[in-house]
Structures are given as C-alpha cells and as structure tokens.
C-alpha cells in the first residue's frame, strides 16, 4: 500500500480527490493509529484517491481553544489554513469529530473554506454507493453492539444517523444505551479535559459512561472518536469487563468485515 502526501501529489502537479486529515490522536496515539490504519485501508480498498499532509499536518488548535487559549488556536489555525489553501484543498475527511467540527465550523471565519466530512458519514456514502461490501457472517454475527454518540458529532453537529446506518450493515444487533443521541453522555475528554486530571467528584465521567455501555450487554462498544476510544476503554476496564467488551471505532468494525 502506498499512502501519499499532498506534497507528493503537488510535485506531480496533481490534486487528490480528498485530503485525509489524520489528527494528533490518530497520528501519535498507539491505539488511535489502528483507527487511522483501518480507515486508510478502507479508502485504499474502495479506490478513493486520497492524500495526507504527513509531517506538514499540525494540531487544529481545538484543545487550546476549548481551554481558553485563543492565541495558540489562532496560530495553529492560521498556519493550517495557509497550508490547506496553498494545496488547493477542497474536500477533507477526518476520523476525529473534534478536527471535523473545528475544520468545518470554525476555520471558515478565518478564511478556510472546505467541504469537511466525518469518516462515519463518508463510510455511509461509500456503502450507499455500493463501494463497500460486507462479508457474510462475520465475527459479530448475533452479538450486540452499542454505539456511543460523541458530543462533537452528535449534539455539536447533529449527526446521529449516519454512524448507526453504517453499523446496521454489520450482522449484529444494535442496542442503545439509556442516554443516547441528543441525550448522550459525554465520555469526559472534550473541552481539553483529555489533557488534565478531572476535577474532584464522586466518580469519573468515563467510569459512569463505561458502566452504562457495559450494562447494555453489548460485546462491542462502537465509537467514532479517538478520545472517546481512550476514555471508554478505561471506563470498561474499571468494570473489570475488558475481556468481554471491546471498544472499537466504526472504521475498524468496517475494515474487519470488508469483503
């Protein structure tokens, strides 16, 4: 497999169909790298022509902005926009709802206008176009899957159905947690919480959510966000069920079942 960068394309005087915005977690976090690889595999197999920015990609500035550090955010954003505009990027797909939200909603005010798509929506369109076909049977046949709505995809951008539609193509039963869709409970990572200890409380947010997910009796918790992934994995660990209940990104689930 040959994953090319925007720079390579540009050197050949070409532009790819889409830019795959990997994000910091997807680039550096060992667990999230697997999501990145799974999604790249799907793109490759379905013949989508894509590129990454590679070493040229920087943090979008999301955690800085949410923590209140607008200066750092602006520095990152303005640099990124310069780069994206230089490459003439039109369409961006990302597997991180925080990158998705900020690129889609907050970069336009700074002169960065792109069509930004979250990977779950993109997967749904590939399925709709018949480009993704699933294996019969499969590892999750007859098992229960529950889906965790990330705040930045769900409430933040009103995307509730696309990820569920993608999951429906699997041979599994989709069960909902008590708090789902617009009433979903945060995993505890957003707003730059990922990068510090939680404030004092009676419990941690990811433990509360992990428990709720495990209580559905599902053997897979499907996530759409690398941060939710970390938080929920820890949350499940707290319940002592990490052997029975796996947290997997929707891209990983699809990659596993690809024909």
């Amino acid at each position: 497999m040959q994953i090319k960068t925007m720079a390579t394309y540009a050197a050949n005087g070409e532009t790819p169909e889409i830019l795959f915005w990997v994000g910091c977690a997807g680039s550096f976090d060992q667990r999230a790298q697997k999501i990145t690889k799974a999604f790249a595999t799907i793109l490759e197999k379905t013949g989508v022509q894509f590129a990454i920015l590679g070493k040229e990609e920087s943090c979008t500035g999301d955690p800085a902005r949410r923590a209140g550090n607008e200066f750092i955010f602006q520095m990152m954003a303005q640099n990124n926009i310069q780069l994206l505009n230089m490459y003439g990027v039109k369409k961006i797909v990302t597997a991180c709802p925080h990158c998705f939200n900020i690129l889609k909603n907050e970069y336009p005010a700074l002169g960065g206008n792109y069509e930004v798509i979250h990977h779950t929506t993109f997967l749904q369109s590939l399925i709709d176009e018949g480009k993704i076909r699933m294996k019969e049977g499969g590892a999750f046949k007859g098992k229960k899957i529950t889906y965790h709505d990330s705040c930045y995809l769900g409430r933040g951008n009103n995307i509730y159905e696309a990820p569920r539609k993608v999951l429906e193509t699997l041979d599994a039963e989709l069960v909902e947690m008590k708090r789902c869709r617009s009433k979903g409970l945060c995993c505890g990572a957003g707003g730059a919480q990922m990068f510090k200890e939680e404030e004092k409380g009676t419990t941690r947010i990811n433990i509360e959510r992990g428990r709720e997910a495990v209580d559905t009796g599902a053997s897979v918790i499907a996530s759409n966000c690398p941060f939710c992934m970390t938080m929920l994995t820890d949350g499940v660990k707290e319940t002592g069920k990490e052997d029975e209940v796996k947290v997997l990104d929707i891209a990983e689930l699809i990659a596993l079942h690809l024909e």
């Binding site: 705040c151 945060c186 510090k196």
Partner: protein, 440 residues
C-alpha cells in the same frame, strides 16, 4: 361608593404598572451593560425559533408528561390575559362584564374555556408542587437552589393556584347571582365550571354573595398586579423573556465556538508582519475573555434573566452528574445575581462604583470552570435557548489569556502544541510513522 372603587382601582393599577415598568427599565439597563453583539441576521429563522421554542415549547416536549402540564399552566397564563383585560376595563370604568354585549353568545364559551384552563392550571401547579416538595426530584434538590430560589418556585406555584381559585369562586358567586336574576349581574349564560359550582351558594343571602364576589374580584386583580411586580425579582421572569431569548437564540451549530477577531488580527500580524505597516495603532489594551458581567455579551445577560432555574442543564451535565462542583444552572444564577448586584450599585451611586467584586471568583470559581467538557448537553437541554457554555468559555478565556491561570497539565499541553504542533510531546517527524509502516 362606585366612584371610590374606581378611584382605588385606578390608583392600584397605576402604581403597579409604574413600579413594574421602573423595574423593567432597570433590567433592560442591566442587560445592556453587556458588550455589543449583533444578533439580527436571518430574521426568518429567528421567528421560527420564537414559534417553535417559545410558543410551541418544543424543547419542553423532550419530557412529554411534564411538557403537557407545563403547557396547561402556560396556555392558562397567555389566554387568561384576555379575561384580565376585561377585569381591568371593568375596574377603570366601573362596569361589570363589559364584554358581554360585545361578544354575545361567544362570551360564555370563552369564559368556560378560561375556567377549564384555570382548573388545569390548578392541577398542573399542584402536581409541580408535589414533584418539588414530596417526590424531591434530584434537580430540584441540589444545593444551587438552597434558600430563596426554592421558596421562589413554591411561592409562584401557590400564588397561581390561589389566583385561579379566586377566579373560579368569583364566577361561581356571579353565576348564582345571575340565577337569582340580580339586575347588576348581567345574564351571560352558563359557565362550564363555575356554573356547576354555583349551587354551593344556594343558601347564602344576596348581600353575602355580593361580598364574596367583590372580594374575590379585588383579591384576584390585586393578586395579579402584585404577581406582575413579583415577576422581575423571580425566575418566573422567563414567561416574558423566553420570547426575546428564543428570537436571539444561537443559530450556529452547537459545536461551533465564537471567533475572537481581536486575537485573530494580532496573530495574523505576528505571522505576516508586513501587514502591520498599514495597521492603525490599537487603542488601549484589548481585554480577552470575561471576568465580570460587563465583559459578557448582552445575550449572555439576557440568558441569565431568562433562566427558569429548572436545572435540566445540570441534570444532563456530565460534570454535575459525576459530582463535580460545576452546575450550569448555577452559572446562570450567578450571572444574574451579579448583574442584579451591579444594577443595585448603579441605582445607589448613579454610575457603577467599583465594589471589589467580580463574577469570576466571587461567584463562579475556577474549579467549576475547569470541569466543563464543552459537551453542549446543557445547551441542548435548555428549554429557553440559554447557553451556559458560552459564559463558561469566556471566563476560561479570561483565566488563560489575562491571568495565565491554567492547570499545569494544560500549560504543558499549550507548549507542546506550540513547539511540537501536537498536544503531546511527540516529535513532528513521527507524525506519519503509521503511514510509513503501512507503506512497507
């Protein structure tokens, strides 16, 4: 005697209206202490929000049972204003049931409808009292509400019940007098609820009945005038402010955070210093984020005055659920308290005199602000289009940019982003290691 009553009524009514409008002007002034924000784009979408969120109570229906009860109380409030209009005109002109000749056969139908609503209001309020005081729902028990806010809610519910009972008793006595063919009590036809209650008064002499009817009339209207003047001091102000607040509600996707053009410009000049040549020198030091109500926008302050203290936000807040100090409802109540305190200060001193206090720290602590995950659950739940998150973010911006106050881990994260272009301390060169691994 007649004239005296009219005079008394006009004095009472005039005083009530005067006091109310004075307080309303003060609240308007307090709200406008906030900084400017232009929220007049897309009037079509905004009116749609007024219809759906304020009139239609769309968000309330996330909890259908409560929504129905609340709808009774609310419809009762809106519609009963017609009936109050008649009472006020009667009071000023010394007439009785002024609208009977105008409305004719429609009149008893209308009043009957009001009466049915009145019964539903009594029922709704009674159930709300039970939920608050006997069932003790968690969101009504939290410490945000200790003291005045909890009594406030109960006073309102009790007052509404009393007002409705006065209205029904008044009509029942009136109906009995009509049955007796009293000349002053114009025949209106049967009222649905009070008509069936009229027989209770069968054995009473005319004089007593008239006294009951008049007393109820006076208590009812005086009660309403008193209630009107209680509103601005109470969370019940939302029955008015929910409407403008829905009009000025945010139209952007919830995930979108407001841009800061001042910082944008500054960073732009840093990255492209050649632009600075044509740049006029900035006037004074710009302020970043919010420390006090003056730094918030007027919409934030309108939000604070519109908050019904229902606690739906806090009940959905992941930080609150897991026992952190943060409660979005408290953020709104604190903001209103501070705006009121500033308002009192202005009333006393003519202009605001520094009182050594600020919204940040004297009302809202850093610990509360730090606990927010920006998940938007509070914004999603609020039935009156309030964003506690917007205030939280502005206060955080002040902490970080004006005071450099951030937890050590965040400071580390900031410098990682600045130096390594990622919130973690990884080498930039490793950013595409995963791709290299796949390319092998």
């Amino acid at each position: 005697m007649r004239i005296l009553q009219e005079l008394l009524f006009i004095i009472a009514f005039g005083t009530a209206v005067y006091l109310f409008s004075t307080k309303v002007r003060q609240i308007r002034r307090n709200i406008l202490l906030g900084r400017d924000e232009d929220l007049n784009d897309h009037p079509d979408l905004r009116w749609k929000n007024v219809l759906l969120l304020a009139f239609g109570q769309k968000k309330m229906f996330r909890n259908p049972l409560v929504a129905v009860l609340h709808f009774f109380v609310y419809a009762g409030f809106i519609i009963i204003n017609l009936e109050i209009l008649e009472i006020i005109l009667d009071g000023i002109l010394g007439k009785h049931r002024l609208f009977v000749p105008v409305l004719g056969g429609l009149y008893p139908i209308l009043i009957s409808a009001f009466e049915v609503l009145a019964v539903l209001v009594v029922l709704g309020c009674a159930i709300f009292l039970v939920r608050r005081n006997i069932l003790k729902l968690r969101r009504f028990m939290s410490r945000d509400l200790n003291g005045w806010p909890r009594s406030d809610a109960n006073y309102i519910l009790i007052t509404e019940i009393v007002l409705m009972l006065l209205f029904l008793t008044m009509n029942a006595a009136d109906q009995q007098m009509q049955l007796r063919g009293s000349e002053h009590y114009i025949a209106t036809g049967n009222f649905l609820v009070s008509g069936s209650l009229a027989s209770i008064f069968n054995s009473m002499p005319d004089g007593t009945l008239i006294a009951i009817e008049r007393t109820c009339w006076w208590l009812h209207i005086l009660g309403i005038l008193a209630f009107l003047n209680y509103l601005p001091y109470s969370k019940h102000l939302h029955i008015i402010l929910a409407f403008p607040n829905a009009y000025y509600a945010r139209l952007e996707p919830m995930g979108e955070m407001e841009n800061m053009p001042a910082v944008q410009r500054e960073v732009q000049l840093m990255l492209q210093p050649e632009l600075a040549a044509n740049e006029p020198a900035p006037e004074g030091m710009p302020k970043f984020g919010a420390k006090d109500v003056f730094d918030l926008s007027w919409k934030n302050l309108l939000d604070a005055y519109s908050c019904t203290e229902c606690g739906r936000c806090s009940a959905a807040c992941p930080a609150n659920i897991t026992g952190k100090a943060l409660s979005p409802r408290k953020i709104m109540m604190d903001t209103r308290d501070r705006a009121e305190a500033v308002g009192r200060n202005i009333n006393e001193n003519g202009a605001f005199k520094d009182d050594g206090k600020t919204l940040l720290r004297d009302h809202i602590t850093e610990e509360e602000l730090r606990a927010c995950t920006t998940c938007n659950a509070c914004v999603q739940e609020c039935p009156v289009s309030i964003s506690p998150l917007d205030i939280i973010v502005q206060l955080r911006r002040h902490l970080v940019m004006e005071e450099s106050s951030a937890p050590a881990e965040w400071t580390g994260m900031f410098s990682n982003i600045e130096n390594n272009m990622a919130p973690w301390k990884f080498s930039m060169d490793d950013r595409d290691k995963w791709a290299e691994e796949m390319n092998q």
